[in-house]
């Protein structure tokens, strides 16, 4: 049962050792593949894909942020332009309105002046017409009086004076 040997080198072939080594190694391989390497590979692969997806997500959000920034800048520019346009518009409108008001008041003043002048002229005409009528009536009256009675020179003068006085009073 025992053999004296150098170290562990055996006389004859240890067929059992060969078989035992082979079987135990295969069992170890199978067990480790199932309980150690499998889960370890799984978690390493998972981490890899996690990192991959994280990088992708970061890249995507960076892209999104860039797009947002661009639109924001564009919007801001547009808003500025719009505000400028509104202010300009308002200025222009104000100026136009002011001018219109001034023009309207000028026209109004002109119109009022003209109306006043026209009224003055018509009043004057009316007055002249009335005077004429009265002078005519007076003349007729004087003439009829002169014709109706023969008068001496003095009494005629007296009469004329009387009438003239009358005219003066009636004025």
């Amino acid at each position: 049962m025992q053999s004296l040997i150098l170290g562990a080198a055996t006389g004859g072939i240890n067929t059992g050792d060969i078989l035992f080594q082979l079987v135990s190694f295969i069992i170890l391989l199978v067990l480790l593949r199932k309980y150690a390497w499998g889960p370890l590979m799984g978690i390493m692969k998972e981490r890899q894909s996690h990192i991959n997806s994280e990088i992708d997500a970061a890249e995507q959000s960076r892209q999104e942020a860039k797009t947002y920034l661009e639109t924001q800048v564009e919007e801001l520019k547009k808003a500025r332009e719009e505000a400028k346009a509104i202010i300009d518009n308002a200025k222009k409108q104000g100026e136009a309105q002011g001018e219109a008001i001034i023009k309207a008041s000028r026209d109004e003043a002109e119109r009022v002046k003209e109306a006043a002048l026209a009224e003055i002229a018509s009043e004057k005409e009316k007055a002249v017409a009335t005077l004429r009528q009265e002078v005519a009536a007076l003349s007729v009256k004087i003439a009829s009086k002169v014709i109706a009675k023969e008068l001496d020179e003095s009494s005629q003068e007296k009469l004329i004076n009387e009438y003239l006085q009358e005219v003066g009073e009636s004025r």
Binding site: Q2, T15, F20, S24, R33, L40
Partner: protein
């Protein structure tokens, strides 16, 4: 420094009980390390998981240097188990050896040519198996006649030489290391003066043996992948 070994015949097979014990111990240690390290897996690795992931990357590097990953990915579990098993087996004989009644019980299992040659034959057989399976028998057979037909005998010899060198290199390195350790230990225990004298070379040689054990585990795995790549790759 001659030690015996307890052998037992069982079912017509001869078992060296010391080898059986040490193979079991190595397998259990490797299994415990690997399984305990992968119990609390997390996306942010720490401690043992980090170490094991480093080993995985290391073996991936070995495979990647010999064949493309599409072909070599399937050998990752084999490479991982090989490198850890051989490394642990190499380390077992370093701190101490247990001798009971002149029979050596505790030692590196890889300090026995039977064990290393078994592993080597297994690797070479696997390389032939995968060669036939992945390239087809015709292309696999044609490899033996390339680049010249008359090289066929050399190719056959090469297969046996590969097997022998793969197994005996590992055995030789580890056995020599243990032998010298045993001699130093024998010297150290023979007297006070010898003990002091042996302490320094003992420490140096143990440190060197750790280095050799790690290197041999790496070389064995590397050559395994080289032989596999040689058989399964199309590009030569």
């Amino acid at each position: 420094m001659e030690h015996g070994a307890v052998t037992k015949d069982f079912l017509g097979l001869t078992f060296n009980l010391s080898n059986v014990l040490m193979i079991t111990v190595s397998s259990v240690i490797v299994f415990l390390i690997a399984v305990l390290a992968t119990r609390a897996l997390s996306m942010r690795p720490g401690g043992m998981q980090n170490f094991l992931e480093w080993v995985v990357d290391f073996v991936k590097g070995i495979i990647g240097s010999t064949m493309d990953w599409h072909t070599g990915g399937r050998f990752l579990a084999l490479g991982l188990t090989l490198i850890m098993y051989i490394f642990v087996a190499n380390m077992l004989g370093l701190p101490f050896a247990v001798v009971v009644d002149h029979n050596l019980w505790w030692k590196s299992p890889t300090a026995d040519p039977t064990i290393t040659l078994t592993l080597a034959v297994m690797v070479v057989a696997l390389s032939h198996y995968y060669g036939v399976r992945m390239k087809g028998f015709k292309e696999y057979g044609a490899e033996f006649f390339k680049p010249m037909k008359f090289l066929f005998p050399l190719k056959i010899i090469e297969e046996f030489a590969n097997t022998l060198t793969l197994g005996l290199r590992l055995y030789g390195n580890i056995f020599a290391g243990e032998m010298l350790l045993a001699l130093l230990a024998g010297l150290g225990t023979s007297g006070i003066f010898q003990g002091v004298f042996a302490l320094l070379p003992m420490m140096v040689w143990q440190g060197f043996s750790i280095f050799v054990g790690a290197i041999q585990a790496f070389i064995f795995t590397m050559l395994t992948m080289v032989y596999l790549a040689h058989k399964v790759s199309h590009d030569h």
